[in-house]
Subunit: 372 residues, 2 copies
Amino acid sequence: MKFTIEKNVILDNLNNVIKAISTKNVIPILNGIKFEMKEEGLYLTASDSELSIKSFIEKKKIKNVESLGSIIIQSKYILEIIRKMPQDIINFEVIDGLKIKIYTDNNQYNLNCFDPSDFPNIKFEEHKEPIMIKSSVLKDMINQTVFAISTQELRPILTGVNFKFSLNSIVCTATDSYRLAKKSIKTDVNLNNDLEVVIPGKSITDLEKIMGEDSDVAIHVFNNKILFVYKNIYFQSNLLSGSYPNTDNLIPTEFEYVIKTKLQDFNDAVDRAALLTQGKDKNIVKMLVNKELLTISSSSSEIGKVEETINIESNNTNAQDISFSSKYMLEALKTMKEDEILILLNSDVKPIVIKSVKDESLIQLILPIKSY
Amino acid sequence: MKFTIEKNVILDNLNNVIKAISTKNVIPILNGIKFEMKEEGLYLTASDSELSIKSFIEKKKIKNVESLGSIIIQSKYILEIIRKMPQDIINFEVIDGLKIKIYTDNNQYNLNCFDPSDFPNIKFEEHKEPIMIKSSVLKDMINQTVFAISTQELRPILTGVNFKFSLNSIVCTATDSYRLAKKSIKTDVNLNNDLEVVIPGKSITDLEKIMGEDSDVAIHVFNNKILFVYKNIYFQSNLLSGSYPNTDNLIPTEFEYVIKTKLQDFNDAVDRAALLTQGKDKNIVKMLVNKELLTISSSSSEIGKVEETINIESNNTNAQDISFSSKYMLEALKTMKEDEILILLNSDVKPIVIKSVKDESLIQLILPIKSY
């Protein structure tokens, strides 16, 4: 294998596949990136056992191809090596079968490689009629939910994001059992049966990062894996096994308190009140709703106390207080995009629901914390 | 004490004094910042036992002063609290003697405070005729030397920067005994006797950060402490005790090899060669000088090897190789400002000296590493 390529082209594609390299991986060959030059162009592939990414550079984007072939280049330092190359045109050449020479006029790296035959044979299967979605829409769905997954391995199924594909909708849910984020979009999905999968949190986060400018994404769902094809990138993740809890009945449909307020004001007030809860486990703040005023407060026996007041519109003139995790609330508010939000309450022991005033597609739910 | 002040004014001054708060400090009162409102304005003071900083806000920069007095406010969170305040005008009011209320229209913090009488009485003494220097000059002197101090407590005196004040010069030296950085400036110093002090590395680094726009700095040297007065800031540090080694005889004055090359080319070549030495202790790279070419190489049995070539002008056509720490070399090169530098060598066991072609004031010395 011998070819010449522009620095930015190889760098962009390496950046895509390197996300599949796990720092926790102990199998040496999986620390490598497969370079495979074929007639049609260069394929880069990387995989831990959970996530596999393939990035394709078509031949016309490669300056010169002198010979085909394949090799496994160690991923350690490869990005930095390419990034720091002194010229914009870089040469790659396999020498002695198991080494790669990466060079320009005045510098050269000779890197030890792995044998391509030792690399796992990863199949990126595709359906004839995949589910199609815009990458901008998919990015939003991920960003608005993935933060709510569980980080604890106690219930592994909750460490992923649940996707439900139906004939005319895609619904995305994440919960760590203390809070829940749910995003639904209406779209035509070409499906005979409903499909439900749970995608590992790390995979879906990496997918979100890889998607840059808006483009179509083809989603191919299989029994134990899912493939996303975005531009020249094939992104394939294992699925979490087990059944995702039914979360629909957790979300109240009627509320005693329907409170409208400015997103920014509420966010900043919680943020300031949260300052004194730093370093504590739950970051609890207390909220008091009283007619047209909402007060958020917190206290620390060591540091002192804080009290914030903002204006609200409410359907209920009774006073109500409720305590919650400021960290969870700030993360939920971050997903909101409009100027005004609805805070929906029933009592101090029932879930808090946050919604946009206009947009029905996004629901953020936070369980209150009892604090006496 | 009760006053109203602009957010940016109080924030800037808090940012100055907070550098004297040590995270390792175990004496509770030293985690506090002294606020002292007098007729002429507000003094903020903070201190660990080694470094004390006082920042003065003159009365005309304070919106409104309702009453004088003093209190010790805990430094934890104070910067964030002020930074996040929702309005540009902030009120401070001592309540119940040992609490401070910091508030705007819709929010208020009530913070527990310490008794001002428990705060150490720090004297910021001044000489009548201090040593004067421009802050831009002093900043350069610090930046070009302080990185070379020792981080090991084995020889405590080497963890500081040595300043020698004479009638017509200031000389700044730092060394960890493997490398040395020395900067000399010519200036009129009003002194009867030469003065030599060693300033702790942390103090001198903090001083560099505090100095923003160019202004005069007055330096007041005492037996066991040094005071820098820059604008409205009083910056006082303890001195390291003990005698600093005489480093003058370490720097060779004659060289077998006088090599001229481009700073950027040499820097980038060392930087790229250093990539494969990452994670190793010494980051050793090898340099070979041969007529008009300089080759820098390194290798890692695990990853592979790298070789870089740059053009040089040399007074000596004999080949010479020498190995050194790439980390030390890159740090030394970072202090150079001109396009071309001189690399001065004698043999593979004698010090490497790096100088600017034009500027004689700065010397960087690095000991070679024997590598067989």
